[in-house]
């Protein structure tokens, strides 16, 4: 069996891409288009919605439908698309700024509403595009261009937030665990309801450089050593989890999505009318 390449979803003549060597966005994009191919997605039925930042540039490389939006609002745009045409595959590509910093409110409510969207989030723990300032997911004490003495704020856990807010599917991956990442993206795309794949991703240019992981390989090494399969991570005592994170599927539920619920309510309204 030949492996899917996903090339038919990529725009011709734009490679090599713009992302820094060692960045995780390209790996995510590769996993995404391979998933599209394996799931048999048609370009015309697929809409990729992006925000602003390094991850927000992905639409430039795709030949599916696309909507490149404002910073943090991609999920709200995607909500309108999906609500009006539930047949479309709507995929939202965001960074940690888009998804849970400026756009945190939309993230919370897209999950609560259980919109049938797939949110794929490159979490590189800082604002890469603007030069490496701290974001809502920057760890406490980390050094960034706006926290040169250390970050006074605490780190937000995107996956935990997604679970709490009501997402049907949540997984965490890294560009090091590349095959597992594709599996999780495929599962997320296939899942009805709000699905989230959070990808811990290296930003050697900014975050790594400021935090003693200047080489691209150093950040990958960190992801390799700190990322544990979910089962293994869960089997550890709470105190032993420090410095590690779970990789793989974290949440898998079957709650009805917004469109399903809206149709239920519509039927109720129509019956009342008659």
């Amino acid at each position: 069996m030949s492996h899917a390449t996903g090339l038919q979803y990529l725009k011709k003549g734009v490679l090599p891409h713009m992302w820094c060597s060692g960045c995780g966005v390209g790996v995510m994009l590769g996993a995404l288009v391979r998933s599209f191919e394996e799931l048999g997605y048609e370009r015309k039925d697929t809409v990729v919605v992006t925000g602003i930042g390094c991850t927000g540039k992905t639409d430039d490389y795709l030949v599916t439908n696309a909507l490149h939006t404002t910073h943090g609002r991609a999920l709200a745009y995607a909500t309108g698309i999906k609500a009006f045409n539930p047949k479309l595959h709507v995929v939202v590509l965001m960074g940690d700024g888009d998804s849970v910093t400026i756009g945190g409110n939309h993230f919370l409510h897209a999950a609560r509403r259980n919109m049938d969207l797939t949110a794929i989030i490159i979490n590189n723990f800082n604002f890469g595009m603007t030069g490496g300032q701290f974001s809502g997911t920057t760890p406490a004490d980390a050094i960034t261009q706006t926290s040169i003495y250390g970050n006074a704020e605490r780190q937000l856990d995107i996956s935990a937030l997604a679970e709490l807010a009501g997402a049907n599917y949540v997984a965490r991956g890294t560009p090091y665990h590349v095959w597992e990442l594709k599996t999780n993206i495929k599962e997320a795309l296939s899942k009805k309801g709000f699905s989230v794949v959070e990808i811990y991703s290296p930003c050697p240019t900014h975050f790594g450089k400021n935090n003693k992981m200047k080489e691209a390989t150093a950040m990958l090494q960190w992801l390799k050593e700190s990322g544990l399969p979910v089962e293994k991570y869960n089997s550890l005592e709470k105190s032993a989890r420090k410095g590690f994170f779970a990789v793989g599927k974290l949440v898998d539920r079957e709650e009805p999505d917004f469109n399903t619920r809206y149709e239920e309510i519509r039927r109720r309204a129509m019956n009342l009318k008659v």
């Binding site: 725009k11 370009r43 015309k44 039925d45 809409v47 919605v49 602003i52 540039k57 639409d59 430039d60 030949v63 599916t64 439908n65 696309a66 909507l67 490149h68 939006t69 404002t70 609002r73 709200a76 745009y77 995607a78 909500t79 309108g80 698309i81 999906k82 609500a83 009006f84 045409n85 047949k87 479309l88 409110n105 939309h106 919370l108 409510h109 809206y262 309510i265 519509r266 309204a269 129509m270 009318k273």
Partner: protein, 377 residues
């Protein structure tokens, strides 16, 4: 609900919803805010029955985003808000301009600044409507003065949005939004309803930003055979990012030109006894009615007064004002704001030497005919 010809008592806000449905709107996303909430309530009640979608979003930022998304999926979509919410919508409203996405935003103006007097009327968003977004943009804005106009101008707003691929702002105010009047709902077909141009050529050759001779490019819907990109970033004819200065110049100019090209069609005005008017009232929205009453009172006293009603507030009715203003000895501009936002535009057109009287109310109270008469007699 049948949309037959029927005389009814209806609130302005409700007539806006009726107009939207008449025009074919099937997607509403909004965040309730006084004094626009009846629009959300009526949409929520009726959308499911019409096969449409009502979404109550987490804020006005999301509401604006959702109606743009739905429009690109093929819906005629709208939202309704007031001052604070309209401020929040500005950034995404800019995307609708940049991406040339048809949609309608209702702004039931209330008294500000900031939270201000939530239940009191104002006409103080005139300049925000025109210039509220960063970057130099053109939009269309319409102002109803009665319940009937709430209906008809909402239909017109959707028509302009669809025809010109532009967000259209329907700027009413608390007075017009909450008053009830008898209205005759037009029967289907009585008012023209426009649909956006769809692409017809080879799907692979479709460029969503190559305009036809009328200045407007056909717009496909996500899910059709025409696959396309829309972007908030500067983009080329195909919708993909493009940083070339010549391309940027072409795009920015195009966004303005398509409105300029159709000024005559877009600018809707009404005149009342202006042929021989020595005193010309220039009014819009609720203050039109006080102006008309004042003008009639002046006529009774033998003073030739007339009223120009600006139903389209943006683009501004430069030509009409220039020609009527030339004849008039005195021009009076009553408006519910402090600065004289429309009066300033009138001054720009008629020149510094023109006798322009401003009548302003900014305490949340409406302008009465007596207020106007006091200011000029």
């Amino acid at each position: 609900m049948e949309l037959g010809r029927k005389v009814k008592l209806m609130q302005g806000n409700q007539a806006i919803v009726e107009g939207a449905f008449y025009a074919g709107a099937r997607f509403y996303a909004g965040y309730p805010i006084t004094p626009s909430s009846e629009i959300a309530e009526e949409s929520a009640k009726r959308m499911p029955l019409l096969g449409g979608i009502y979404m109550q979003m987490e804020d006005e930022i999301a509401s604006m985003a959702a109606i743009i998304g739905a429009s690109l999926a093929g819906a005629k979509s709208f939202t309704a808000t007031s001052g604070p919410g309209f401020s929040l919508m500005q950034e995404n409203l800019g995307l609708a301009v940049m991406g040339e996405v048809p949609c309608v935003v209702i702004n039931v103006q209330r008294s500000g600044p900031s939270t201000g007097l939530a239940t009191k009327p104002a006409q103080s968003d005139v300049m925000q409507i025109r210039w509220g977004r960063h970057g130099d943009q053109s939009v269309i804005a319409l102002c109803p003065a009665s319940v009937s106009e709430c209906f008809t101008l909402t239909v017109t707003a959707f028509n302009f949005a669809e025809k010109f691929r532009v967000p259209v702002i329907l700027a009413s105010d608390e007075v017009v939004g909450h008053m009830r009047e008898n209205i005759t709902i037009p029967s289907p077909g009585e008012l023209a309803v426009a649909e956006r141009k769809k692409p017809t050529g080879e799907p692979a050759a479709y460029k969503p930003f190559i305009a036809d001779e009328d200045g407007v490019a056909p717009l496909a819907s996500y899910g059709s055979d025409y696959v396309f990109h829309v972007s908030s970033s500067m983009h080329g004819p195909d919708g993909y990012s493009n940083n070339n200065p010549a391309n940027a110049a072409w795009r920015v100019a195009q966004l303005h030109k398509k409105i300029e090209m159709h000024r005559e069609e877009i600018i809707i005005t009404k005149t009342f006894d202006t042929e021989d008017a020595d005193i010309l009232f220039i009014a819009f929205g609720a203050t039109t009615r006080a102006s008309r009453a004042a003008a009639l009172e002046l006529r009774k006293q033998g003073i030739r007064a007339g009223v120009l009603q600006l139903m389209t507030i943006w683009p501004f009715a430069d030509k009409k004002i220039a020609s009527l203003g030339e004849r008039a000895k005195t021009v009076v501009v009553p408006e519910m704001n402090y600065s004289g936002q429309v009066a300033g535009e009138v001054q720009r057109i008629l020149g510094a030497g023109a006798d322009i009287r401003k009548v302003n109310s900014y305490n949340g109270e409406i302008i009465t005919p007596q207020d106007i008469l006091k200011a000029i007699l």
